[in-house]
Amino acid sequence: MKPFKIVRAKSITDINKVFDAAPRSSYLLAGGIDLMDEIKEGLITPDFLVDIMNMKELKVVRDEQDGLRVGALSTLESLESNSLIATRYPALAQSVASVGTPQIRNVATIGGNLCQRPRCWYYRNKFFDCLKKGGKTCFAVDGQSKYHAVFGGQRCYIVHPSDPAIALISYRAQVDILSVDGIRRQPLTELYVGPGEDILRETRLRSGDTIKTIIVPPIVPGQRSVFLKATERRTQDFALVSVALVITVDHGFITDARLTLGGVAPTPYMVSHVEDEMRGSRIMDLDYTKMGKLAAQGASPLKHNSYKIGLVSSLVETAIRDLAYS
């Protein structure tokens, strides 16, 4: 491990001072869970880690008119134990509780969780010089692809790793991004970029940008939500497939639906054709199995991940059924 220096930042100006001087070798340090993993694995060799944990404005959690504001530095544990989130945004609470282990949730921040790098075992292993690291090959194409993408691979078959992101996107969350130019607000979906557009990164954050707040819109009457995650172990496991479904039901009819999948594509995978199909339907009359099948439409599996297609269908079906009877 190369030596690095930790610099404490109190403001975006502090951050940018470091990033301007060393844009390629400066990294934001919050909880550090994923960052430490990358440094130890030798995937990145920072000169500077900018510790932002003292930036108070990134810690605020407040219920406001335009929604629940969650500071990016909130630990996952603080969100897990937040009763307001548990009652209003159950899918978010469930997704957060499914991340890692207690020790990780006690330290990891929601901002860091949204920006973690993919878990692809070829990417994470220094031995494999893969496309995402600037190499020439995606080893998963002909290699071991059990955990890889079935949608939207486009050369690189990573899957999006964050469970909370899946839930937040289904709630139509937005993020406030702090940069030298001020604060800009954008839908969380737009934070992410697929390998077709940029193979080296997964978010559109520019050097020195930092997520300040996540804004989850207020719940509306009739809103129901659920998060489901299929894993191999009962804890400490990334999703084989995860599903977050948020619907609004009015007099038995679905007036709004938002379905997002994790673990299947390089970015959170939004299944708008299923949402369209659901909207306007009576929830009790809906063909859940058909919706499940529809959600998996267009999947193109690699050698070892075709099981994910059936898994997507099953989880979507279960999610809709859960909400119909909730």
Binding site: Q236, L240, L315
Partner: protein, 748 residues
């Protein structure tokens, strides 16, 4: 009686307070830190290593490459370092430096010139005539399979009504003990002291001294507390490397492996492919069993011959059958080296045989429990005629028939376990599930050698303070051998458990001892301890007799005293005797070759599992697990229960999730970490009920037999059979992970 009591695990207070020192916790003055450079090719010749940049790096003190290594061998097929590397992760070179960061940088600066060679990862390819030869001797070890025959299988197949044939596979998986391997070496003139994660300090000393061509008496190996072994940590290459680095540096050197290195360069369980053919009558009586197992040993032999042999024992001996044949192929490939892992080949062999048994029972519409009750081997052993001469000790893994077991509680295990899980009721209840979660019940049974190991020795000494010192060269690998052996000592001498002190795992102070392996510690060393303690008792009595001028027969040893007559007030305490003998302490050495000339000494068990399979996610949940074991008398029930529960919980990984996955194009392991080599967590384990059969073995110490490895054997088949009962699919290939279950369901 201390025997049969759940006395507390020795050293546990130290471990629970963080005081217990494991190898990595030890720090010596002036100590350097080493790192190993590992091969990036699965098979390559090393032409040269340019170390000029490394040697210029400040803080680098010593180095070892295959071009300047002493010529000794650490194992038959393994020099200390070699100019040929045989798997991705094989040792290339090593550096010692003043800190770990520098050592890491130093190995990264080594410029290795490789000539990559064509490589082979799978046994099918490795056995082809044109396959690259991983070692000079060829890829099939011994140039031919081991073939073990009793009776005539062809005859058996001619005389049956049905023949069943299937192939089963099991993957490589890693024991990955929580403690990564660590070694410290220190030289004082020409005397070498090694602290290492070890399962046998004496075998380590032998291997290290022979590889380095030094007098074994100039080598001391100490095994600090061991953070899990499970059959691993019985190899010595790392220690030899560290010893040379320390010698060249003139300072102590420590190397700790990373978790990734543990997965890759530690030793995994052999992957297997087993073809099994059985002949059965319509009534369900087995007349022939023919099994062929092909086993991938990876780049080095390690304990492979023992493993391939043991994989066949279930086929040869679990079911009463006059005609059996086992062919075992052990094959080199360019995968990471396999080695010893809990129960060696037995889990693989039993998985194939015991799932096959259920398939046959299912086909013949016989209850799997009845099928086993009809066919299991009983106390009389196998049909046939004894071949071993009467004067010889019987192999614990025999092929021949005509020899009875010293004890056989298999029937009891089947009865106790099936009753505890209400097998008959559940089977009769004709359960059907409408939900996505389907329930099922399954079982397995098993046989295991173990117990009698190599020559066992023990020394017992009366200390001047009246305590008794038990001295053996054995390693407690976390299973509790020290506790049980001290119980035996205390029991034999009628003294409190606390009055026994123990010296283990240090070649300097202890007599030679085998590796803690084959579930042999309690049985073999236990017998030696029992004998030594018994002899010490005699010598204490003799001493007191001459001291009090009475006949030894007038004396009685009880509660830490020697009494003159049973109700007499004349007595000498152990402390008195210890004090009186302080100049020439009473001390006994005992050694023996454990085993029997009349009986086969084996342990048995039967496992029962109820599962719930979610057909939408492929997840298998174990909702109840019953383990019935015949390990003879249980000397410490609490430790024994822990051992059984642990063995089962550990092997849930083998059954459901764990697998070392290799990239076929490069030979690199893609999942060398806990996150993706998915070992069970506390949330994954079922409620387990452990039942011990009431068996008193006439050969073992206080009636005990082997236990440690047995719980790991029956897990996979019991669960896989239960999965079939739940959803009607047979899993032939482990692990039964969600993706595999979903794929099999998809193909129905």
């Amino acid at each position: 009686m201390v025997i049969g009591k759940s006395v507390q695990r020795r050293d546990l207070p130290e471990k629970l307070t963080g005081n217990a020192k494991y190898t990595a916790d030890i720090k010596l003055p002036g100590m350097l830190y080493g790192k190993i450079l590992r091969s990036v090719y699965p098979f390559a010749h090393i032409n040269s290593i340019n170390s000029s940049k490394t040697l210029k790096l400040q803080g680098v003190v010593s180095m070892l490459t295959p071009f300047d290594v002493p010529t000794g061998y650490i194992a038959l097929d393994m020099p200390i370092l070699d100019t040929t590397v045989r798997f991705v992760g094989d040792e290339v070179a090593a550096v010692a430096a003043t800190d770990e960061y520098i050592a890491q940088q130093a190995i990264e600066l080594l410029d290795v010139n490789y000539s990559p060679l064509p490589f082979v990862l799978n046994v099918e390819d490795a056995l082809k005539s044109n396959a690259p030869k991983i070692h000079e001797t060829g890829n099939l070890i011994g140039s031919e399979p081991i073939v073990l025959i009793r009776g005539d299988v062809e005859e058996g197949f001619r005389n049956c009504d049905h023949i069943f044939e299937e192939t089963f596979t099991t993957p490589a998986h890693s024991g990955s003990a929580l403690e990564p391997r660590a070694v410290i070496a220190m030289w004082e003139d020409d005397f070498l002291t090694i602290w290492k994660c070890s399962r046998g300090v004496h075998s380590d000393r032998k291997a290290i001294s022979s590889a380095l061509c030094i007098d074994p008496n100039k080598v001391r190996v100490i095994g600090p507390h061991l953070g899990g072994g499970f059959g691993n940590k019985d190899e010595s290459r790392l220690a030899a490397i560290v010893a040379i680095l320390a010698y060249r540096a003139g300072r102590p050197v420590k190397i700790e492996l990373s978790r990734e290195e543990e997965f890759i360069a530690g030793r995994c369980r052999h992957s297997t492919s087993t073809h099994i053919k059985m002949g059965v009558s319509s009534a369900g009586i087995i007349s022939a069993i023919q099994v062929e197992t092909i086993m991938n040993t990876g780049a080095y032999l390690a304990s492979g011959p023992g493993v391939i042999r043991r994989a066949g024992q279930a086929a040869l001996y679990l079911y009463r059958c006059p005609n059996v044949r086992y062919d075992g192929y052990l094959v080199y490939t360019n995968r990471p080296s396999a080695g010893s892992y809990r129960a060696l080949g037995a889990p693989q062999g039993h998985f194939a045989l015991e799932v096959m048994a259920d398939k046959i029972a299912h086909s013949l519409k016989i209850d799997p429990l009845d099928f086993r009750l009809m066919n299991h081997v009983d106390a009389t052993g196998q049909p046939g005629i004894r071949v071993t001469p009467p004067s010889e000790i019987i192999d614990t893994q025999p092929v021949e028939g005509g020899i009875p077991f010293s004890s056989n509680g298999l029937r009891q295990c089947l009865d106790l376990g099936s009753t505890a899980i209400h097998w008959r009721n559940i089977k009769a209840s004709n359960y059907s599930d409408t939900s996505v979660k389907k329930t099922g019940i399954g079982m397995s049974m098993f046989i295991y050698r173990g117990g009698p190991g190599g020559k066992a020795q023990a020394r017992v000494k009366l200390n001047h303070d009246g305590t008794v010192q038990l001295i053996t060269g054995l390693m407690d690998v976390g299973e509790g051998a020290t506790t049980v052996l001290c119980q035996i000592t205390a029991n034999e001498l009628s003294i409190p458990y606390d009055a026994v002190r123990a010296t283990f795992a240090d070649t300097y102070y202890t007599p030679n001892a085998p590796v803690t392996a084959g579930s042999s510690a309690t049985f073999s060393t236990g017998l030696a301890v029992q004998r030594a303690a018994g002899l010490l008792k005699n010598s204490i009595i003799s001493f007191v007799a001459s001291n009090l001028d009475v006949l030894p027969s007038d004396l009685e040893m009880k509660d830490g005293y020697v009494y003159r007559g049973s109700s007499s007030n004349t007595k000498l305490s152990f402390s008195d005797i210890g004090y009186l003998t302080r100049e020439t302490p009473l001390e006994i050495n005992a050694s023996l070759m454990p085993g029997s000339k009349d009986f086969i000494i084996n342990s048995f068990g039967a496992h029962f599992a109820r599962v719930e399979v979610d057909v939408t996610t492929g997840q298998v949940e174990i909702i109840q697990y019953i383990a019935a074991h015949d390990s003879g008398q249980i000397l410490n029930p609490s430790l024994a229960v822990n051992q059984v529960e642990g063995g089962i919980s550990q092997m849930l990984g083998f059954t459901l999730t764990e697998e070392m996955i290799i990239d076929d194009l490069t030979g690199g392991i893609v999942n060398p970490r806990y996150l993706e080599h998915k070992s069970p967590t506390i949330l994954d384990i079922p409620p387990i009920e452990v039942i011990f059969a009431d068996v008193l073995d006439p050969e073992g110490p206080f009636g005990a037999k082997a236990l440690g490895e047995l719980p790991s054997i029956g897990v996979a088949p019991a669960i896989v059979n239960a999965i079939h009962d739940a959803i009607g699919i047979w899993v032939h290939d482990l692990p039964a992970s969600p993706n595999r279950i979903l794929e099999l369901l998809d193909n129905i």
